[in-house]
Each structure stands twice: as structure tokens, then as C-alpha cells.
Symmetry: C2
Amino acid sequence: MESWVDGQTADVLSLKDRGLAYGDGVFETIAVRDGKLVLLERHLQRLALGCQRLAFNLDWTLLNDELQAYAQQLGEGVMKLIVTRGDSQRGYAASPLAQARRILQGSPPAAYPAAHVEQGIQLFPCATRLCEQPLLAGLKHLNRLEQVLARAEWSDTEHAEGLMLDTSGRVIEGVFSNLFLVRDGVLFTADLSRCGVAGVMRAELLFQAKSQGIATQITDIRLEQLHQADEVFVCNSVYGVWPVRGCGSTRWSVGPLTRKLQSLARTLLDA
Amino acid sequence: MESWVDGQTADVLSLKDRGLAYGDGVFETIAVRDGKLVLLERHLQRLALGCQRLAFNLDWTLLNDELQAYAQQLGEGVMKLIVTRGDSQRGYAASPLAQARRILQGSPPAAYPAAHVEQGIQLFPCATRLCEQPLLAGLKHLNRLEQVLARAEWSDTEHAEGLMLDTSGRVIEGVFSNLFLVRDGVLFTADLSRCGVAGVMRAELLFQAKSQGIATQITDIRLEQLHQADEVFVCNSVYGVWPVRGCGSTRWSVGPLTRKLQSLARTLLDA
């Protein structure tokens, strides 16, 4: 499907856009099912946090109208929304009055091997570390060179995702996923106040788990804790939940809590 | 002057460009005098380092031809070169065969107040810290949200630049400049192996200073060392050297080594 820029069909962008110049923008990747945007409220919440921290002036009414209309036309697939600060002249200073630019791109449903869901995946242990920048932590902003470097570390098809630590060695997330581990019935995921992307599916799974009386902990995770986990899985808002079978020489079996949350994610994504 | 994309006149860019999607690119801002590119060799050296670390396939012959031709047409001003990894589909993985994209943008000579050069400037002490990411340190890449946040911290005209520390509290650089200090006749500038942009004018001034027998040290700099300096100045490849008169409540006088290096920079930029 053709892309839209500020509500108009377009396949190009102004060379003066600050998204290009500085990565001065944020994005959301949203699953679209039967013309509906899955987990839209959570995507908009994270987008709002990004717009607040970066001081963007975004026309939310126009954005909402465009999201709905674009999803209707797309029907089934993945919508990527990019919001940038818009154009500016040379230099980092931005006009506080600049109107943020809205870019919508559509693609067909993601085609991952069914085995990722059924048997689980192998994580590549990335050497690229996430730097600790509390001002940007949690946001899905356009400064993603660390992910580009990490993803370039493997090219085989044996590894479906990579494991990323921060520069202090804490376990944070995947390259395009969040990571959970289960130990003694408790669901753990990394604290993302220093780095990492606070994923929409992560938030939803934490909410669903709590609703079902499962104990959850958002905390710093050491590599030893990961290796000693009973279950490990990754998630995002496009593919749902993939069990993790191994990383390096460590092996995990696919456990009941992973299957339960995977089923919940599937229900959301199949809705 | 109109911009060029891969040698063709253009004012827009493909929405699939990875420079927009991930900040997957690098840039150079080059002074152009009488159709000539100032400090071109040093700009190309840093660009080559960026292309190497990010594994870009850049056609250097085409780039060189375009740089020369564009500078000829621009005559006097500032040329911004952006090199991105080019287009890709959704996802961080990039084709190792992708050809890097070359974007040239021209603007008139920078119009800074003469007082910046003559009397010196005041630095704004930015609260935004630079995170420590050795894999990207030194490069002038397109992931510049920290600079955007730092530059948004002040809007008065009293401050011409901002002072940026890293997350460990070391003195690193300005928002769009490198920083030097002088103490007991020795020229100090920050080690940029963890963060910061290794500026072309910084490299040239270090080289020139050494050639003239001035002792230089590239080292970690604490805030107390900055406050106790005899002289402080900032530099970049567009404006040359600005003496720093103050930062917060600290005041420095404009000293002889600053004036000497300022004069050297002026000679290069007036050539």
C-alpha cells in the first residue's frame, strides 16, 4: 500500500526533515487486523510519552483520523507510523512552533516461520551493548544505530533474534523484541529506565499477567539470572510471543507460563 | 543552492531510506571557500571511519566528483554531506550489498555575530549528558537526539554554545563544537573514545599545535579542571575558533594560545 505523509499519498520526504538529519522523531509499528489497529491505545501512550520528552507539537486529531483511515485501507498487515519534528534549517535548534510530521507506511503481514512460535527460537548473543541514556530510555525513537549494529552481527537463519545487554552488562532486551524470563513462577522483565524500548506487547503482557494473579517483577537482570531461568521468551506487538530455546550454550525448555502468555498474545493479534 | 541526491538535483528522499528509519548514516559539514572544500582530507578520513564502522558500501569516485562539482557551483558557503545506507524494507537487517546514498545540501556562509570571534562566548551548562557508546564514539552519525535535547535547553542569545558532559561527568564537548582548554601552556582536549564527535577542526588544531611545539594532551577532563583552566575555547570546521569567556559562574579571560590557534583556523577558513 502507498505511504502517506501528513495525510497525502507520497513515497518521498523533504530533505530538510529532521528525522533524516538527526533521527529527531519516534515511531510505532502496529499490527493491523481486519482494518483495526491492535493495541492502539498502548501505542498512542508510548507515542505521547515520546512527543512529550522531545517536545513535539503533534496534531492528535489529524493523526487519529489518518491512522483509522489508513488501517481500513490496509486491512491486514503492519503499519509503521513515524512522527518527526518536521523540517528545519541547518543546526540543532528547532522552532518550538514546528508542527510534527506524520508518516504512515504499510506492509503485508509479517511472514515469520511457524517454528518460531511452535518450537521457539535461538537468541544470538550480541556484542553490541546498549548505552545508558535515561532521557531517551523507553522511547521508540529514530536513533537506532545500536540495533542496526547488533542486527548485523549475525546473518544465519538459525538465530531469529539477538540478546542485548547494556554497557554495564545488564540483560535488557532483544534487537526488535522485549525479553521476559520466568523463575519459580515469577515473571521478570528488565527495568528500562536507563535504556531499551518499552514495548507495547511487554506492557500488555505485564498487565495480563497481573490480572491473572501471576507475580511480575520489573528489575535489573544479570546474565546469570537469565541463564538460570526456568523459561525465557521474547515478544513484540507484531509477532506476539516467541519462546526462547537457547542462547549461546545455554538451553531452556518451553514452559507453561510462556505458552499461556503466548496464547494471550495470539488472541490479541488474531482479534 | 538546490540539493543533490546521488548526483541528481532533488529536494526529496525515498521514504524507505534508512537514514530516516534508523539514523543509519553519517554526515559532514564542510566549509566551502571560492569553490574549494576546506579541510577536505580530514572530512573524508572521518567519513571513511564512519563507513567502515557501519559497513557502508560507498562509491568514493562518484562522491569525490560530486563534492568537487557541487562546491564549484556553491562557491561560498557550507556544504552538508549526508551518507546513508540507502533504502531497505522494514526491519534492522540490511543487505551487505546495498549501495550507500550520497546527499549534498548547500547553504550560504554561516552568519555568526563577530563578537563570538572577538570577545568570545558564554557556554550554557547543559543538563543533557552524552551516553557512553564506544562503537559509535568519534563518528558524526545521524543519531543526534542528545544534541537536539541539549540545544533545546536554552533559547536566549546570551549563550552561543552549550557544554556537554558524559553520563560519568567528564567534560566532553560542545553541542556542535569540540572544546579545548589551556593550563600551564599545555593544550587539553577530551578523549573521545567513549562518546563525542571527533571534529575535523579539533584534529587540525591538534596537528598545528604539535607542529609548533605546543604540548597537547588528549585525556579525560574533570569539571574542576575546566573551571581551573587558564584559557578555554571551542572550535568547529565552519566557524573556526571561539574563545569561551564563561560557563555558569566561572569566567575565563581570552588568552594568547587561544588567539594563536584562532588565527590559524582563520587562515584555513579564509584560504
